[in-house]
Amino acid sequence: MTTSARELLCDLMPSFPVRHSGQIYTDTTQFMNINYGDVIALKERNFLVLRDEAERRFGLEDPKYWVKRCRELNSGKRFILKLVFHEKFEQKIGPLTINCYRSPKKESRILDLIRGDERFMQGKTVLDEAGNPVRILDVISGKSLDNVVEDIDMDHRTYFHEKFPGILEKFIGSCEGIKYMHDNGERHGDVRRDHIYVEYGTGDYRWIDFDYAYESTENPFGLDLFGLGSILLFITGKGVHDAVSLTSSPSGLEFYSSLSPDDFFLIFSHRVINLRKLFPYIPESLNRVLMHFSQGAYITYETIDEMLPDLRQGLKDVSTL
């Protein structure tokens, strides 16, 4: 049962237009009904709903109706509330399609695990009146790593010498964050370059979104490792270099034609992973890390522990160029 939020909003946020006052929800099960102007009441805390979150990929907005941008009435602070939504869907990874599940409990458990660790988004879980675990997440002021890298306006050589060492160092910190999860029996589940947020001011790299879960496999950390390899490729190359980007010029086409299958990413078979052929100043040590993710790799990484020493050596060599 819901009641009007008008009185509560008049008391705690008099600047909010009365005509937009909605309902007070103590049970968030029907999250589709909760919209702008409604208030989600959790124990002693009240959150005014501002809008649904949306994921922006490839220029399109995909609304996430179970994720609400809110302002806490008592403190005036902004928060993101993630409501319970159990979903099973197919995820395409290169040539493969796998079942993926959204697990609120997994995310709550990880939020408890990484509390106070600045390598991750922070938040806590509160049960609503119906027992739904609502995740109250701090808003990270910043932008995603892919946007940060793409917005650096310089040629690759200058980027690689001036900006990349700092980016790689922070990325290694992010890898150590994922290792911490793995050491504690958890997996991130959705390691992507837009799931690292670079915080304004501090420049800290922080992982977001831990609610993806998968069926058991023999290599439990494979998906996370693939994601890290994919991010490493992106930041090293300052973007993706593939059939589309390279073949748009005659010289690029000639270069692309000279590559062998071993020069490409194992998962995305048109993406060049042997970046040293494209940018010869990339140290061999760093390129070798990338080549663990190539179609020609005989040995691949099974754990982050195996990858980290190689990455650190790569950083050392990049920093002394």
Partner: protein
């Protein structure tokens, strides 16, 4: 290692059925072999279920399926002429896994199979193979590949 002591590691897959058939045909009614059918427990991932009840139900269904499969596996061997007295069945429960939960790969089926092989002094290990692509192997792993890479002092039959 006694190569006539055979560890036949199975799950309820078609690949396992092929491994069982193969072993049955090779051993036939020979008297001086021992075959242990081993299943390493892999319950459905807890996080993919919305609540405890549905997960428990799925676990019970999985256990039932495996127990039936193990009985069928024994029958398949006997149908190939294998003597009943040389066949045993072992269901390795998660609570009985070898090693410590903090060990790398503790939950891995390959890891547990290799522990069981060492402990039981099995000279021959038989596994089925899914025939996964390199991409799948990287992302999800492969029990047979891990065994081939890491096992010591034991002959491995990988049945395609």
């Amino acid at each position: 290692m006694n190569f006539k002591k055979i560890l036949l590691a199975v799950d309820a897959s078609e690949n396992s059925s092929r491994a069982i058939e193969y072993t049955g045909v090779i051993i036939g009614d020979a008297a001086d072999f021992q075959i242990e059918l081993l299943y390493v427990e892999r319950m459905p991932e807890r996080d993919i279920f919305p609540d405890e009840t549905s997960w428990q139900t799925a676990c019970e269904e999985e256990k039932d399926k495996i127990r039936k499969f193990l009985d069928q596996a024994k029958s398949m061997l006997l149908n190939r002429g294998v003597r009943p007295e040389i066949v045993s069945i072992r269901y390795l429960k998660f609570s009985d896994f070898y090693g410590s939960p903090n060990d790398v790969g503790f939950r891995g089926v390959a890891n547990q199979i290799m522990h069981a092989q060492q402990e039981g002094n099995f000279g021959t290990l038989v596994v089925g193979r899914r025939g996964v692509s390199k991409t799948e192997e990287f992302l999800f792993g492969s029990v047979s590949t891990k065994i081939i890479h890491h096992i010591k002092g034991c002959t491995v039959w990988v049945v395609e």
